[in-house]
């Protein structure tokens, strides 16, 4: 279980997340994609913390901060989806075509 293996797994998760974020039509699935990428990031943080800093508490703090980011990201994402849905009643990315000047 070398750090290289961990980071490779995390890279795979991030790649999958990116694939998901780019390919999915619906906003919520886009959020899922981002969440998966953050999952990869979380694994990286904990992996590096465990394998290289031999227990520096700041590593764990960073992991907690990443988790906080995931929470905030999801919360704001859902709020925006709701707001957009109220306004446009659309939950598919194609529905929003006004984001240009």
């Amino acid at each position: 279980m070398s750090l290289q293996a961990i980071l490779l797994v995390a890279a795979a998760l991030i790649g999958l997340g990116l694939y998901g974020a780019l390919s999915q039509k619906s906003f919520v699935m886009l959020l899922m994609g981002l969440e998966l990428m953050l999952n990869g990031v979380l694994l990286i943080v904990v992996g590096c913390w465990s394998r290289s800093t031999d227990g520096d508490p700041k590593g764990q703090l960073l992991a907690i901060i990443v988790m906080a980011v995931m929470a905030v990201d999801m919360a704001i994402g859902f709020a925006l989806v709701t707001a957009v849905y109220r306004k446009r009643q659309v939950d598919v990315i194609e529905g929003l075509t006004t984001m240009k000047h």
Partner: protein, 634 residues
């Protein structure tokens, strides 16, 4: 503190010039006070034997010190300057009076520096300052063109002498590594010789000895007080004082004594004769000054510098009032021709004072001047009896022209000449000086002489009765001939051979012929050569340039015209070409660019699909590019 002696007059002069008001009394008061202070300071300095040095640079240190001889002269200079300055404040005309008195004060300071100098460098500085002051003072009335010319003539002649001083200073430094007088003892051989030659040359030029004596006559162009102070009492004395000061060191050179005696004797005799036949009052006195300094040279050459200094003091005391009197007389008849003076009746007080001075000039005992003349004779006698005789002869000559001066200037002329009496201060000045001359007669008292000798630390030369008697005889003989000359030949020296002799035996013309003429010829020849040869090249070049310019101009017309025509045809062709193709290009480019931009704009707009997934995609691409760049960059 000794430096105060130098700085006080200089600062007073500067202050006087900067802020002084034009009122004569105020100027006289300031000058007088300064001189009185200097006299006091000099006495203290002499008493306390002060000395001082100024560190100019690690190598160059200016030393000043007082030996008994220099103390005496240092005391003499302000003493004589006091009455002369007062006289000048009231005698000279008003315009430029502040400049005159300031320069006189500056001169007194410089003279003091020269006197108290203890090393050649300080001496050189004082020597140069004094020369400059003399040039400035001679050319005081610079509005009259001849005065500056005379000033220049005088300063050039003395500068030639000064070169000797520079030579001496360099030799001293080369030899002993420092300028101090004390170190001069270490010199020997060539440097010592060079030093002696330099000093002797400069002393001779400064004291108006032959062959440099004619500049004194040109110096008489300055105002009377200048002539009195500089060209009689002090500046001219610098040369004699220098030799007296350094006589112990210089006498180690074998040829120093005879050379000095030779110069002194010839000048004394020649000067005496010139003075006798001179018809101009001030020039007569100037010739007499040269003569008496010749006597001082003889005394130094004989090995008795003290005697030279004593005679210097005496000479200053009786020559100054003579000049002052001549000044007054000259002012009255508006000219200095002796024959026209005869002011005995008009200026009785001045005449008497002048008489006392004339007697001293003549060397009539019991005046001090006589004793000093006798001392010189005695000193000369030490060398050889013939020298003593020559000295006495010179003394006789002085008696002659003393009588002639007194008789002509202040004799009793047939038609009584009317002139208003001089200002009270002028009379006081002449009176003071005459009084000092009388005080000097105390020298005759052996005790006073011994005390003075012991004070100065010198041994007076033994004077024998025979010499004394001979001098008395000669003096009486002189007075008589003078009287006769006045009576019979009052116009002597104004025409014919005596006129030529009167002008230093034609020495100025000789000098002119031998020195200035060749130099001028050489200069003009060089100028011509320069014009002929050196200028030829640039002229040729200029000529050549003009020729080519003309040819170019000619060709130019042909070429240029053809060129113009060619360009004209070319431009028309170009225009035609332009109209056809150029227009298209000129318009095509901007329109094409505009089209491109609008196309790009359209594409860019198409890029903005409004669909956020496309934006996310672009973000991803951007991120990738960024990482690639970062990777490439690292």
């Amino acid at each position: 503190m000794l430096w105060m002696l130098v700085l006080l007059p200089m600062l007073a002069g500067a202050a006087l010039f900067a802020a002084g008001s034009e009122r004569r009394a105020w100027l006289a008061l300031v000058a007088g006070a300064t001189m009185a202070a200097m006299v006091l300071l000099a006495t203290f300095a002499a008493a306390g034997s002060w000395h001082g040095e100024l560190l100019w640079s690690p190598m160059l240190v200016l030393h000043v010190a007082l030996t008994p001889l220099s103390a005496a002269v240092a005391l003499l200079v302000p003493a004589v300057a006091l009455p002369v300055l007062a006289y000048a404040a009231f005698h000279e005309e008003r315009p430029g009076l502040r400049r005159l008195l300031a320069l006189l004060l500056l001169f007194v300071g410089a003279m003091e520096l020269l006197v108290i100098a203890a090393d050649l460098l300080t001496l050189l500085i004082g020597w140069e300052l004094v020369g400059a002051c003399s040039w400035a003072l001679i050319a005081h009335q610079w509005r009259d063109a001849s005065r500056p010319a005379s000033g220049l003539y005088a300063s050039v002649m003395t500068r030639l002498g000064d070169l000797g001083m520079f030579l001496a200073a360099m030799a001293a430094f080369a030899g002993s590594g420092s300028f101090a007088y004390a170190d001069l003892a270490q010199l020997h051989g060539l440097p010592l010789a060079l030093l002696t030659f330099g000093l002797l040359l400069s002393a001779a030029s400064k004291s108006g000895q032959l062959p440099f004596s004619p500049w004194l006559f040109r110096a008489m162009a300055g105002p009377t007080s200048v002539s009195a102070l500089l060209h009689a009492a002090t500046m001219v004395a610098a040369g004699a004082y220098l030799l007296a000061r350094l006589q112990p060191e210089l006498s180690r050179v074998a040829w120093f004594a005879p050379a000095t005696i030779a110069i002194g004797l010839t000048t004394a005799l020649a000067g005496g004769v010139v003075a006798i036949v001179q018809s101009h009052a001030k020039k007569l006195l100037a010739a007499s000054t040269s003569a008496h300094f010749g006597l001082m040279f003889i005394a130094v050459g004989a090995g008795y510098p003290a005697v030279a200094v004593a005679h210097l003091v005496a000479h200053a005391c009786f020559k100054a009032p003579l000049f002052l009197a001549a000044g007054i007389a000259g002012q009255r008849i508006d000219g200095y021709t002796l024959a026209r003076m005869r002011l005995g009746h008009a200026l009785p007080w001045v005449a008497t004072m002048s008489g006392v001075a004339a007697l001293a000039l003549a060397g009539v005992p019991p005046l001090g001047a006589a004793w000093t003349k006798e001392a010189i004779a005695a000193a000369g006698g030490q060398i050889s009896p013939w020298l003593a005789a020559a000295v006495l002869l010179a003394g006789g000559l002085s008696a002659v022209y003393a009588a002639r001066f007194q008789g002509l200037a202040f004799g009793f002329g047939d038609p009584p000449v009317q002139a208003e009496p001089p200002h009270r201060i002028e009379r006081m000045a002449i009176g003071l000086l005459a009084l000092v001359t009388l005080v000097l007669s105390l020298l005759w008292l052996p005790r006073i002489r011994a005390a003075l000798g012991e004070l100065l630390g010198v041994v007076w030369p033994a004077s024998d009765a025979l010499a004394l008697a001979a001098s008395l005889l000669l003096a009486a003989l002189g007075l008589a001939t003078g009287y006769l000359l006045v009576r019979r030949h009052p116009m002597l020296g104004q025409a014919g051979a005596p006129a030529a002799v009167a002008d230093w035996w034609g020495l100025p013309t000789l000098l002119r012929m031998s020195v200035s003429m060749p130099v001028l010829l050489l200069a003009s020849a060089a100028a011509r050569a320069d014009d002929a040869l050196i200028d030829a090249a640039p002229r040729a070049v200029a000529w050549l340039g003009r020729r080519t310019a003309t040819r170019i101009a000619r060709d130019d017309d042909a070429v240029v015209d053809r060129g113009v025509r060619a360009t004209e045809t070319f431009t028309t062709a170009l225009a035609v070409f332009g109209r056809r193709l150029g227009e298209r290009i000129a318009d095509g480019l901007p329109e094409g660019a505009a089209a491109l931009v609008s196309l790009g704009g359209l594409d860019a707009r198409r890029l903005q699909t409004g669909l956020s997934q496309h934006y996310v995609a672009m973000l991803a691409i951007g991120g990738a590019l960024l990482t690639v760049i970062l990777l490439l960059g690292s």
